[in-house]
Amino acid sequence: MRTETFFTIEMPYCERMETRRTIFSGGNGPRVAVVAGVHGDELEGLYVCHRLAAWLEEMLRSSPHGLRGSIELYPAVNTLGLDTLTRGLPVFDTDLNRAFPGSDSGPLPARLAAALMKALSGSALVVDIHASNIYLREIPQVRINQEFDDLLVPVARHMNLDLIWLHSAATVLETTVAHSLNSSGTPCLVVEMGVGMRITPEYCDQLVAGMLAVWKEMGVLAPDISVPEISHTPLIADDSNVHYLNAQTSGMFIPAASHWTDVHRGELLGTIVSPFRGDTLSEVRSPVDGILFSLREYPLVYEGSLMARVMSHKGVRA
C-alpha cells in the first residue's frame, strides 16, 4: 500500500496544490478505482475510501496473497474544495465535474480533469461516488446513462445498492468524469447516496460490501477471500416511473414521511409552513403509490425547490 501524489500545480504564493491517491497492488489481475470528493461538500465517498482501506489493510495482514489485481483510491479529488468547505473549485468558481475530459495545458480545472482521466483510463471498473448535495438525501443508488446500460447495468445489479436509475442520453451531461470515461472505453459507475456535508455510515458500509463483492467476482480479490454479505437488491427507475415533487410555494419544508418508505397516492409527505404564521401554506402529497427515494434534508424551499422524488412501483426488481 502506498499513498502518492498524482497531480500537482503551483499556486500564486509559495504553496503547491497536490492531489493524492492510495494504491493497493497485488498481482496482475484487473485494476479498479474509486473516485470521491469531486465536489468539496460531498463527504460520503471519503468515508467509503477509509472503510475500504481499513478492510484491505486488515485482509492483507491475514491473507497477504488475497489481492490479485490492484485497487486505487482517489478519495479527495477536489482537495482545495474539501479543505475549505466549498463544493466547486475555489478561486476558479467551477464545478470540477463539468470540466472533463480536460486538457494538459490550460487552467487548473482542465489540468486536474486531464490528470484524473489519464490516471483512471484503462481501469477495469471505476466507481465515482457522489453524496447528493446539502439539500436532498438519496438512497444508495447508481445512475446510468442509457447509452452505456448494456455494459454497466449487469455490474450495478451486484453492487448491493437499492436503486438503479437509468437516464436517457438527452438528459446526461457530457462533461462529467463518468461520461468522459465511459465514452473513451473505461467503464465508470456513478453512485449517489446520502446527503452533502454529512456521513451516513450504514450507506457507506453497504457500498463497501457491494464493491468488494463485485471486485471478487472480477478477480481483483482472490476467490478464497471472504467478503461481507450482500443484502440489497436494486429496484429499477427510469424517466417513466420517477415523479418529482417541487415546492408550490416558498417556506420551510417539514417532512411527514420517512425516507425510503412505501407511500400511497395522496399520502401526506410533508408540509410547507412559514415562521411568520401558524397555518400551513402547502401540503405535499404523493402523486402515486410508490417508494419515497429522495427526501429534502435542508428545510428552506423556494417555489420550485425539489422536496422529494417518488418512484411508482413497476413491479420490477432487478
Binding site: 487548473l108 410555494t249 417555489e303
Partner: protein, 314 residues
C-alpha cells in the same frame, strides 16, 4: 412601460420579481429583446441596458425629435436580481448558474422557472441579444460572440460596429444556455461580451451603448439614427486566429496594457513576479502580431492560468 417578467415568493423575505422595460409601439412580440445580468456580477451589461432603457424612454417622450422608435423593444437589465444585490454570479440560494438552466420549465427548480419565463418572453423577437462580461479575473474587448452562426447572423453582427466579432462552434457545454435555446427559434441571436465582471468600465459601456443604438438604427427599430462612419475596422476572428498565453509559472502578474490595442509579436505586455521573493520571473510577450482582445486583471496567477489572448488578423 415597466412589467414584471416573473413574480415569485421566497422562504422568509417578501416575494421577488424580475422587472423589464417594454418600450415602443404595442405588438404581439418585441422586435428586439435585450438581456443582461443572467450572472449577477456582470455589471457592465446591466449598466448599458438600464442606460439604453432611459434613452429609449426619452425618445418615446419626444426629447429627441429626430428619432422615432417604430418597433417594440424588450429590455431586461438583470435576470439574476438577487445575485446583483448580493454580488454573486450564480443564483444565491443554491449557487446554480441560471445560464445553464435553459430551456427551463414551469414546474421545476426556481432557476428553471426563471429560465422558462425569460425564454418565453424573448424567443419570438427577431433580434435577441444577451450581454455578458468575462469573469472578475479577466477583461475582454467589447465584442460580438457568435456560436455556430448562420450566414445572416455573420452579416448582421457587423451592424454593431464593435471592433471584434468572435466566432465559436456550438460546444455541448453550451446546450443549456439561453443562446442555445434561442437558436431553436426563427430570428437572430447574439452574445456581446464586454470587459470584466464586478465593475463598470465606462469606456466599454459607452462604446457598447453607442453600438446598440447604431444596431437598432441599422435594423430599422429606431428611425433617424445618424449612421456613423465606422471609426475603426470590424475584425472577424475565428478560433484559429486566437493565440493564448498561459502562465508557465505561478506568481503575481502586473500589466498596464489595454485591450483593443494592436501589438507586435514579442512586444512586452506584462510581468510575472515571484509573489514571495519579489523578483521578475517571466516577461509576458505577445505571441504574434495582432489585436489584444483579452487580458488578465486579477494579479494572482495559478500555473496554467490564461494571461492574455492576441487575435491575428486573417
Amino acid at each position: 412601460m415597466i412589467r414584471d417578467l416573473l413574480c415569485m415568493t421566497a422562504p422568509v423575505r417578501e416575494g421577488f420579481d424580475i422587472p423589464c422595460h417594454e418600450i415602443g409601439p404595442k405588438s404581439s412580440h418585441p422586435a428586439a429583446a435585450l438581456v443582461a445580468g443572467l450572472h449577477g456580477d456582470e455589471i457592465n451589461g446591466i449598466f448599458i441596458l438600464s442606460r439604453l432603457a432611459d434613452f429609449l424612454n426619452s425618445v418615446e417622450a419626444g426629447k429627441y425629435p429626430e428619432l422615432r422608435l417604430v418597433r417594440r423593444v424588450l429590455i431586461i437589465p438583470a435576470v439574476n436580481v438577487l445575485g446583483v444585490n448580493l454580488r454573486t454570479r450564480t443564483w444565491p440560494f443554491d449557487k446554480t448558474d441560471i445560464n445553464r438552466m435553459f430551456p427551463g420549465s414551469t414546474t421545476g427548480e426556481t432557476t428553471q422557472r426563471i429560465a422558462y419565463a425569460l425564454l418565453e418572453s424573448t424567443k419570438r423577437a427577431e433580434y435577441r441579444i444577451d450581454i455578458h462580461t468575462a469573469s472578475t479575473d479577466f477583461e475582454e474587448i467589447p465584442q460580438v460572440r457568435l456560436h455556430g452562426p448562420s450566414d445572416t447572423e455573420r452579416e448582421t453582427a457587423r451592424m454593431f460596429g464593435l471592433p471584434a466579432i468572435m466566432e465559436r462552434s456550438l460546444s455541448p457545454v453550451f446546450t443549456t444556455t439561453l443562446m442555445a435555446s434561442w437558436k431553436v427559434w426563427p430570428g437572430e441571436s447574439f452574445v456581446l461580451r464586454v470587459g470584466q465582471a464586478g465593475i463598470v468600465q465606462l469606456d466599454h459601456c459607452q462604446r457598447v451603448f453607442r453600438s446598440m443604438v447604431q444596431f437598432l438604427g441599422r435594423v430599422g427599430v429606431l428611425e433617424g439614427v445618424q449612421i456613423a462612419a465606422e471609426d475603426e475596422e470590424v475584425c472577424f476572428f475565428n478560433k484559429a486566429s486566437a493565440f493564448r498565453v498561459l502562465a508557465e509559472k505561478a506568481g503575481t502578474f502586473v500589466s498596464d496594457s489595454h485591450v483593443g490595442r494592436w501589438v507586435r509579436a514579442g512586444q512586452e505586455l506584462g510581468y510575472i513576479y515571484d509573489s514571495f521573493g519579489g523578483k521578475v520571473i517571466e516577461k509576458v510577450v505577445a505571441p504574434v502580431a495582432g489585436l489584444l482582445t483579452g487580458i488578465r486583471r486579477h494579479p494572482l496567477l495559478f500555473e496554467g492560468d490564461l494571461i492574455l489572448r492576441v487575435n491575428r488578423k486573417s
